[in-house]
Symmetry: C2
């Protein structure tokens, strides 16, 4: 009996969701009527409305987003491209954006560039071919011609986060310049004058803004800037370790360090620890972006901070406006203010230095 093969090679596909056609058939109405009920068009008789709704309930019908995209050109999907989802700051940003966008019925397509242009380009292309309705991104560079050309080509509403590409995109920018000024004011008031700043390459806004703030502050004080105290090599934790180690090895090191990058604190703290120095007695420290580590380090680390999740939400709202075609056609530039929070890591400058 075993060769009867009672299962005639069942296609073993998923039970294929119900289609609008089946709904119409079960409801005994035409396709178009079912569609009208689903999309809440006004001109449907109460009777047919009820029949269709019953059929929908019975079949568990859910519209197929893919087919809707096919028809409308929209996908109710938004791409979000970040450097590294592992950074609490970026994760908080994604979280905020996700929160408001999902409440509006959008789903997020996530891309992590890990600093790779290739990954960035790939993500944007595959997102575009999935017909995303909007894009939020933190590019690894602002001067990448290929990326810009690509963006022009796909022509999708886009919000830049902490990046500025003039005359081109809406941008949501953290007031890093202000943050640096706030940090410097406090450090100056504590007597510090030799203050190093560690940040990344100036082909992105955050580095530029911080440098601008740094130079402007010294200029306002009528003091020359010691260029050796400015490092624009890295935003990473590993980089911060290297840079901090190097600086601390100088014969006359700075008395304070400002970290101009959201992932740098761990590396810098490690370097200071490795050298056996005390904070703030031997060196004062200010970080960019608040974190558990900053709050709970010993001593707690002074920070320039802002609300990441809130920024993510704001970015999402900006994008929603753009997608609806609301608001001015001009690219907008929203600046998010920073708060400087003095904690134990910024102390009085030792008198002998």
């Amino acid at each position: 009996m075993k060769s009867l093969s009672p299962t005639p090679k069942a296609p073993r596909k998923q039970p294929s969701r119900a289609t609008i056609r089946e709904v119409a058939a079960l409801g005994g109405v035409a396709l178009g009527t079912a569609s009208r009920v689903i999309n809440k068009h006004p001109n449907v008789s109460a009777e047919n409305m009820a029949k269709v709704q019953a059929a929908i309930a019975k079949l568990g019908y859910k519209p197929d987003t893919v087919a809707q995209s096919m028809r409308n050109g929209e996908s109710r999907t938004v791409g979000i491209l970040v450097r590294n989802i592992t950074s609490p700051v970026l994760a908080g940003f994604v979280r905020g954006a996700q929160e408001v966008l999902s409440d509006q019925g959008y789903t997020l397509l996530l891309g992590c560039s890990e600093e790779s242009r290739e990954r960035e380009v790939n993500f944007i292309m595959s997102a575009a071919s999935r017909r995303i309705d909007g894009l939020i991104m933190i590019t690894s560079a602002e001067d990448d011609a290929e990326l810009l050309a690509l963006r022009k080509e796909i022509n999708i509403p886009t919000i830049l986060f902490d990046r500025e590409i003039p005359e081109s995109f809406d941008a949501l920018l953290i007031a890093h310049e202000q943050g640096i000024k706030q940090s410097l004011e406090h450090l100056f008031s504590l007597g510090h004058r030799r203050i190093a700043i560690l940040t990344g390459k100036d082909n992105v806004y955050p580095a530029r803004a911080r440098l601008r703030g740094y130079r402007a502050f010294f200029e306002a004080q009528g003091l020359p800037v010691d260029e050796r105290l400015i490092s624009t090599n890295t935003f990473t934790s590993e980089g911060a370790f290297v840079e901090t180690s190097a600086i601390l090895g100088w014969t006359q090191p700075p008395t304070a360090i400002i970290l101009g990058g959201i992932s740098m604190l761990a590396g810098s703290l490690s370097a200071i620890k490795a050298r056996g120095l005390r904070i703030p007695e031997d060196i004062s420290l200010v970080a960019s972006g608040d974190s558990d580590l900053a709050m709970l380090s010993t001593p707690p680390t002074s920070v320039v901070r802002w609300n990441n999740t809130e920024v993510g939400r704001t970015g999402a709202f900006l994008l929603l406006e753009r997608m609806k075609g609301e608001g001015s056609l001009e690219p907008r530039r929203i600046i998010v203010p920073t708060e400087y929070l003095a904690r134990g890591s910024s102390g009085r400058c030792p008198p002998d230095r």
Copy 2:
């Protein structure tokens, strides 16, 4: 002259990507031929192949993933559902998964449940209606009937991360039971006997596994378990603050605390700090999951750890196999070993306690 209106209400849509039809037309071949070239079917003459490729290059043609999904049923998209992208552990996991999946041409649809069942259900439904090819998820509960029914209904290859729903899904589990044993062995060797464990509700695997490990260890030692030392109220940082504060207020508090949740360290450290206690002199501490904070706290915090990014990669590979229909049909259960790393936060138990 102003009423001439030279712009006749331009549709102002995106420049509408080139279609395969345009490629065929420009190449002077039929639609099918263009398709065959694109999909590398063998039977195409060299001449036509060249013509089509030229046309593709000239038009910058890229296949429309939505239309492909429509046709194939596949979307080359994978859903990933986590509780909170802000947790470094979960973010690391997402990062690893994203890395291998994007290398395989898949794009990630990200959902954050924030512990809300509604968000979970919404995400799974909208992802399904986007025809995701696979799903990786960390559900907020394992005993949620609605979620299970939904999963059955959509019937998509699924990998559970750190969750186990017997007879149902592939699961990738961290060996928390082992981790707790490793922690207890070390604490015992330091003389601790009154050891509290703080973890979440036991309707998810990590809590259950940790409790199992805890009880098994005491049983193996022939010691009774003091039930008061077991708390299964929360996985969160805020919760850890509350629980730790409560415990430390006891007349005879435990001499060590094991944190059974990846986000709990910050809250617990805050509570200990707020009480003015020293680690490890007054209380020893072991955390779950490594982090910058654990490494750089003072003293550094002992942890049970594992490689999040690697786990994410493994999950992605498991899913890829499932999506290809490879491997056994049985649900698989992969256990990822943990490592116990003793750092300064676990010290010798004071003799008078």
